[in-house]
């Protein structure tokens, strides 16, 4: 038995050393602003961004949360300058309300803005490893790295790629501006040809069950968190070819449900805006011209709601 235990112990030790060496080697290759907290490069980079600039979240008057509809379609810098409120954008691709509904951020005394789109009523593309925490310890990170290495390698590859892009021309750019938003280039180079005429997107329907589920989660947030100042939801338009009356009716229905059941939540419906194709990079994401135009409209609506800072 002693011989067996000795052999097993030596094997375990050798394994541990080999695994540790590999983990440390790869960990050192991780971009600086990159935390291993989920399966998503975008989310991990955002977590790194927040941890590197904790004051941005602390001092922010308005916090943008949500999916790429919030990350790319809202120009955080413009929002901040126009409303005279410090803004921080915590959004990342594929983030759905299910991912952040239990987040402690709702207890912060801030205004929350979430810009929605049709895709927000689908499955999340983000799976946080440790409950939506941006304050991951090194030990937790190493655990996440070691126990989900294949996901990590994929994220690392994308992360390194997007961090190396400086002018936001790449469709999947993750170079945040000072607020954490990513605004796409106006160049035709930025257009995603696959998504531009996506049949799949044309088929996507926003069914009432998904909307009810969204409202249920929102209601849960508003009833269990009293700390937040106000929640503002907006709904993004789509390219003309994808616009249809049925979806428009569904968005209006969503607005009614929110107004009826979620106090202190404002709904700004901009889905019916008829923007030219030249301000889109795909079926529903804007380029910088589009993001600016959309954010301007959003700001106007928010001012009507009385949302404006004093410039501090």
């Amino acid at each position: 038995m002693k011989k067996f235990l000795l052999k097993v112990s030596i094997y375990a030790a050798a394994l541990l050393v080999a695994i540790s060496l590999i983990c440390v080697y790869y960990y050192r290759k991780v971009p600086r602003r990159f935390l291993l907290v989920s399966n998503s490069a975008s989310y991990n980079l955002k977590a790194g961004f927040v941890q590197e600039h904790p004051e941005k979240l602390d001092k922010a008057g308005i916090v943008v949360v949500g999916s790429s509809m919030s990350l790319n379609n809202v120009n955080g810098r413009m929002l901040q300058d126009s409303l005279h409120l410090r803004a921080v954008n915590l959004s990342s691709w594929g983030m759905r309300i299910a991912v952040y509904e239990h987040s402690p951020i709702w207890n912060m005394h801030k205004i929350f803005l979430s810009n929605l789109g049709v895709a927000d009523f689908g499955a999340p593309g983000v799976e946080p490893e440790d409950n939506f925490s941006f304050h991951t310890s090194k030990a937790q990170e190493m655990f996440n790295l070691g126990t989900n290495f294949s996901t990590f390698l994929g994220t690392l590859e994308v992360g390194n790629k997007v961090m190396s892009i400086r002018d936001n021309r790449d469709y999947q750019s993750c170079n945040f501006d000072e607020t954490g938003s990513v605004v796409f280039s106006d160049s035709a180079f930025a257009i995603d040809s696959v998504r531009w005429n996506s049949d799949e997107y044309a088929r996507w329907s926003v069914d009432s069950a998904k909307m009810k589920d969204y409202v249920r989660r929102l209601k849960e947030i508003t009833s269990s968190h009293q700390g937040y100042e106000r929640i503002v939801l907006s709904f993004s338009p789509v390219r003309r070819v994808f616009y249809n009356k049925k979806r428009s009716g569904m968005v209006a229905y969503l607005g009614r449900m929110i107004r009826d059941s979620c106090p202190n939540v404002a709904f700004i419906n901009l889905y019916d805006r008829d923007y030219p194709d030249s301000i889109y990079v795909d079926n529903s994401h804007f380029n910088s011209k589009g993001a600016n135009r959309y954010t301007r409209e959003l700001v106007d609506s928010m001012r009507i709601l009385g949302i404006q800072g004093n410039g501090e």
Binding site: M1, F4, K7, Y11, L15, I19, I22, G146, F149
Partner: protein
């Protein structure tokens, strides 16, 4: 608890150390610990079904005494009670919803609208395995092959020994119970062999099967978008996925049992080196196919009562075996395809041609004839796997049809390199290892330190938290 989980990584060493250092004084203590550990192992998945497991064990234990009675009619009564009881559990938990839904559909098509009560509970993991343990036990007593066990703990360990509880191998009372009834002594060589088997099983599951699963899911999920070449690759990938997944599980089970001083029945003997379907079924899921042979095929008359009866019996066994895998018609079709493949061998008395030897047993490589036989068998089995993987028979049929129609229409597609080249590397690695070990699955020779550590590292980094074993659903 899954074998490929962190919980098991903690659980196994704790139970091992307790077993050999604290509970090693007597047989009673050893068995008690195994029983407790097995219930913890099972309860980790769902403690609610522990009651069902205990109840099923208790009933079969008592039926054993009734079956052993000198009174023939009483013995027969308890035998049938045992069979009905075990099949009843299966019927309720595994097949009730299926039959209720099918009945509803049939009634609906006749214009009658019913609302049958459906059971809203998950299928208890391992129910197909532990009920078969119980049945074989009472049948063996009835046949006079063994006497009933008088110690309940020993019998309970036989039914729910944790390495084999959830996905087999399906053990026989005459093989496992004698091992349970004697105190186990630690054997260094057995324990080392067990560790090697666990490592190899984990490698097959975590590295090969899980990697191939990605290809299979993508190809099967969007099969209409792929050409015939890719569909063939998808089917081949699934053949190796299901093999590495299940044989990996069996290796871990066998290896874990060895750590506790037990030798379990072998479940796989290099099935993809089979030269015909009959040989394939002597090498694939051996514990199940031999169970059906001994408890269904032979009682039905086997091949001793004429060709027609033999054909009927073969079909019954394959269809029932298919249905055992799941309450869905696609499994029945899968069983039927194998029965059709077996039929010519039975009719021409060639089903026992390759009984005892593995291909090229005394040579390094097979000859051309053997290669052709193995490739032919593999492709037949692979096409049948399509019906196993895809639950909708219409879609499965369409998948197979697209392979043939696509090949005839666009033969030039095969001139290019196959899609999913990395998948083939995994498959070649699995085949090469199998070929090297093919004379005895359980003897993993010369798994050196460097290779062992390399495999361990690979397993660690390839590990996916949400991956389960295919056979857990059965």
């Amino acid at each position: 608890m899954l074998f490929n989980s962190f919980e098991f990584l903690i659980f196994l060493p704790i139970v091992f150390l307790l077993y050999w250092f604290v509970f090693n004084r007597s047989l009673k203590y050893q068995n008690l610990l195994i029983l407790l550990a097995s219930y913890v192992f099972y309860g980790w998945w769902s403690w609610k079904f522990l009651g069902l497991l205990a109840f099923s064990t208790l009933l079969d234990f008592f039926y054993g005494f009734g079956v052993a009675s000198a009174n023939k009619s009483k013995s027969k009564l308890f035998l049938w009670l045992g069979i009905i009881n075990n099949l009843g559990f299966l019927a309720i938990f595994k097949y009730y919803n299926f039959f209720a839904t099918e009945f509803l559909r049939a009634a609906g098509s006749a214009g009658i609208h019913l609302h049958p009560l459906l059971i809203e509970v998950a299928l208890p993991v391992g129910i197909s395995f532990y009920t078969f343990h119980g049945m074989s036990y009472v049948i063996d007593i009835y046949r006079g092959l063994r006497k009933p066990v008088t110690n309940f703990i020993e019998y309970a360990v036989f039914v729910c020994f944790f390495p084999l509880l959830v996905a087999g191998p399906i053990e026989r009372a005459n093989h496992l119970l004698p091992q349970i009834q004697v105190i186990r002594r630690f054997k260094y060589s057995q324990a080392v062999e067990g560790c090697r088997l666990i490592l190899w099983g984990m490698f097959k599951k975590v590295v090969i099967a899980d990697a191939l699963a990605g290809y299979v899911d993508e190809i099967v999920g969007h099969y209409a978008d792929h050409n015939a070449y890719t569909l063939i690759v998808g089917a081949i990938c699934f053949s190796f996925q299901v093999y590495c997944d299940f044989s990996g599980y069996s290796d871990i089970a066998l290896g874990t049992a060895k750590l506790f001083g037990f030798e379990l029945l072998s479940n796989f003997k290099f099935p993809y080196f089979s030269r015909d379907i009959a040989e394939f079924w002597r090498r694939w899921h051996i514990s199940l196919s031999s169970w059906f042979r001994d408890y269904l095929y032979i009682p039905l008359g086997g091949s001793k009562e004429g060709k027609l009866r033999a054909v009927r019996n073969v079909f019954i066994v394959f269809l029932v075996s298919g249905f055992w895998h799941g309450a869905s018609w696609n499994f029945v079709v899968w069983g039927g395809i194998h029965a059709c493949g077996f039929l010519p061998l039975l009719l021409f008395d060639r089903n026992r041609k390759h009984v005892s030897t593995i291909v090229a047993e005394d040579r390094r490589f097979p000859n051309i004839r053997e290669i052709l036989q193995m490739v032919g068998t593999f492709f037949f089995v692979t096409l049948a796997w399509v019906f196993f993987r895809i639950h909708d028979i219409g879609i499965a049929w369409d998948y197979v049809k697209r392979i043939f129609v696509g090949t005839i229409k666009h033969p030039a597609q095969y001139l290019s390199a196959p899609p999913g080249k990395l998948a083939f590397l995994y498959i070649i690695a699995a085949l090469a290892a199998d070929w090297y070990f093919r004379r005895d699955e359980r003897v993993l020779r010369r798994l050196g330190w460097l290779l062992s550590v390399g495999m361990g590292v690979w397993i660690f980094f390839a590990f996916k938290r949400d991956s389960s074993f295919i056979y857990f659903q059965f």
